[in-house]
């Protein structure tokens, strides 16, 4: 097999759009005025006129197109190569999703249209909710939350509403020390105190620790399954029983649902509420390009508290938005969520079908285990347990030469890969958290494994090479510390002049 170094990023230099400006240049050409000119202030009211914006760029259409095309060429995306960012499930977003979301009837559907004119859009929402309920084994779904963390907050607010209706919202939410940082944040915003649960030597929840922590002040346990080490919580049924026996509820972070589709269902192992990241498991656009979607799925016990409106069906089989839900926690997002993102997720689910989704999870698990198998002799595995869709190595063997995990990550860019998640989960020293997803072929995985093995060797033989990395990217190592300590958030023409001189 021949290994190629793919890391030569497109290298088109580009300044700021302000620097392209030339006085009088425009991107439009208006016909000569054929009516008498009027005084704008008199016609519109002086208050409605603004002064010219100083330094506003004057550019042509092609200037603008080239500017943004060049900037776009600096981007790294799943369309450019493997993006093994652990716990983020950066899977390929099929073009079919875009085609479906671009269909006129869906793309131009207006949120204020009368229900009778948008029955198709309502059916899309209802069908997606039903599919997600089926996949997760839950009873009902709200599609409103626009992101995972928003889904978390929605879920915890529903738990609070449910426990309040029983007479006491309780005070504490238990969260394992391997959790995503958003979990404690969501619990605190919903008015709870967070109590951390220490993981056991397998990286899982310690049943005895949970027994001790669980009392009638605890509202919920928030856990991720498989957890952030990629390990399935095998005691999940006992865990849920301990929480339920003392009147608490179980929240599951669905970030890692890509490991479970068609294999097991959170609703079958004791979960009362979970959020589902459509931009992870269901292949909708991710991150800043979003917008995201973090639907929440609940068991019957929480159903009365779902956000309004829900999409329901009348006896004559027509769909309607049900606002008449007196116990609802209210709205959590304008209208019905990010509709066209929801359309993409439904397109993905229907294109794959039940068997296809199961196969996606199986291949995602196989890929992670393939990487684990081929790197375990060079990188330490602090929790050597059977894994599902991601593998977490420790870089402690490589970082003995005064290197940090960041140096390894930067060096990976030279090999043409996006770095994995590093320094998380916090319970692993110098964590390298790798999630290939089902997207990658064996050839691509072999390239990645080769790159990681080369880097491990370089860490021994040429640590300076890593310290200075990346070498083949457009710009060399950025000063991330300075950018955080003294961020420059705005370009100002007068300061730019100062810097030039």
């Amino acid at each position: 097999m021949k290994f190629t170094r793919t890391g030569r990023h497109l290298n088109l230099n580009e300044g700021l759009i302000f620097e392209r400006s030339s006085p009088g240049r425009t991107g439009y050409d208006l016909p000569r005025l054929d009516v008498p000119a009027v005084d704008l202030g008199a016609a519109l009211g002086a208050d409605n006129l603004r002064e010219p914006i100083p330094g506003f760029p004057e550019v042509s259409e092609v200037d603008v197109v080239r500017h943004f095309t060049r900037l776009a060429s600096w981007n790294y995306s799943i369309d450019a190569g493997m993006y093994p960012l652990g716990s983020c499930t950066m899977k390929y977003n099929p073009r079919l999703n875009e085609r479906v979301a671009g269909m006129k009837g869906l793309a131009e559907s207006h949120p204020l249209s009368p229900e009778s004119l948008v029955q198709g859009s309502l059916e899309v929402l209802r069908l997606l909710a039903d599919c997600l309920a089926e996949i997760s084994g839950m009873d009902a779904v709200s599609l409103q939350p626009p992101a995972g963390a928003s889904g978390e907050l929605t879920g915890i607010l529903m738990i609070r509403a449910c426990l309040s209706s029983r007479g006491n919202p309780r005070r504490i939410v238990l969260i394992p020390d391997s959790a995503h940082g958003t979990n404690p944040a969501s619990a605190v915003i919903a008015g709870y105190e967070v109590q951390s649960l220490k993981s056991d030597s397998r990286g899982c929840i310690d049943l005895n620790g949970l027994e001790r922590a669980m009392n009638d002040e605890v509202a919920a346990l928030m856990l991720t399954n498989p957890n952030t080490l990629g390990i399935f919580e095998q005691d999940i049924v006992s865990i849920a029983r301990i929480v339920h026996d003392r009147g608490g509820l179980v929240y599951m972070d669905g970030a890692n649902l890509n490991a479970l589709m068609g294999i097991t269902r959170p609703g079958s192992f004791g979960v009362d509420v979970l959020h589902i990241n459509l931009h992870k498991t269901f292949s909708t656009p991710h991150g800043g390009g979003g917008p995201g979607a973090g639907p929440v799925a609940v068991k019957q016990v929480l159903e009365p508290f779902l956000p309004v409106p829900t999409v329901e069906r009348r006896e004559d089989r027509s769909y309607f938005l049900n606002w008449d839900r007196p116990d609802s926690i209210g709205k959590v997002k304008a209208f019905y969520g990010n509709f066209l993102t929801l359309v993409r997720a439904l397109a993905y689910i229907l294109a794959n079908g039940a068997e296809g989704l199961r196969e996606a999870s199986q291949v995602a698990i196989l890929n992670a285990n393939y990487i684990k198998h081929h790197l375990r002799d060079v990188y330490d595995l602090p929790y050597d347990e059977p894994i599902l869709h991601e593998v977490v190595f420790s870089s402690r063997r490589q970082t003995r030469n005064n290197l940090t995990v960041m140096d390894l990550a930067k060096r990976l860019m030279d090999y043409g890969f996006h770095p994995p998640t590093v320094a998380f989960p916090l319970i692993v020293q110098g964590a390298l958290m790798i999630e290939p997803s089902e997207t990658e072929s064996r050839q691509e995985l072999d390239q990645f494994i080769h790159a990681m093995r080369c880097i491990a060797e370089e860490a021994d033989t040429d640590p300076d090479l890593l310290k200075q990395a990346p070498h083949s990217t457009r710009v060399s190592r950025l000063d991330e510390v300075q950018a955080a300590r003294r961020p420059v958030l705005r370009w100002k023409p007068d300061e730019a002049d100062e810097q030039d001189s």
């Binding site: 940082g181 602090p382 916090l426 319970i427 991330e480 510390v481």
Partner: protein, 131 residues
């Protein structure tokens, strides 16, 4: 690992240097190394009263945001406003210029729950070998 003998240490990696009924609090050299480059420090207000182990401050590094806990109960009598403009002090001089707050102790017997420099060194070494 630098560990001044005149400080007491908590298992959550804070130090306190006691003078009379007051004490100066900061985070340990080990803590700053684990955090990496510190980029922001959020301090409490003067007059705030903390129970032991309550969250006293937040430290943001390039890696993570971490909570700093009150090693003992006390009332905040001064905060180090220099950390606002120069968070790098936490990395450069954790036991000196990068003190976080001065507190008036509520109960000096709280100090008995803290570790000496030797005990803390052993604690960190054990934590590292199992971690």
């Amino acid at each position: 690992m630098k560990l001044p003998e005149d400080c007491r240490y908590s298992k959550q990696h804070e130090w306190i240097r006691v003078e009379g009924d007051g004490g100066t609090v900061g985070i340990t050299d080990h803590a700053q190394k684990e955090l990496g480059d510190v980029v922001f420090v959020e301090l409490p207000e003067i007059g705030h009263v903390f129970a032991a182990d309550e969250v006293l401050a937040n430290v943001e590094s390039v890696k993570a945001v971490s909570e700093v806990y009150a090693p003992v109960a006390g009332e905040v009598v001064a905060v180090n406003s220099n950390l606002g403009s120069s968070p790098e002090l936490v990395n450069e001089d954790p036991y000196g210029e990068a003190w976080f707050v001065r507190i008036r102790l509520v109960d000096s017997s709280d100090l008995d729950n803290l570790l000496t420099a030797d005990q803390y060194r052993k604690y960190v070494e054990e934590e590292e070998s199992t971690g």
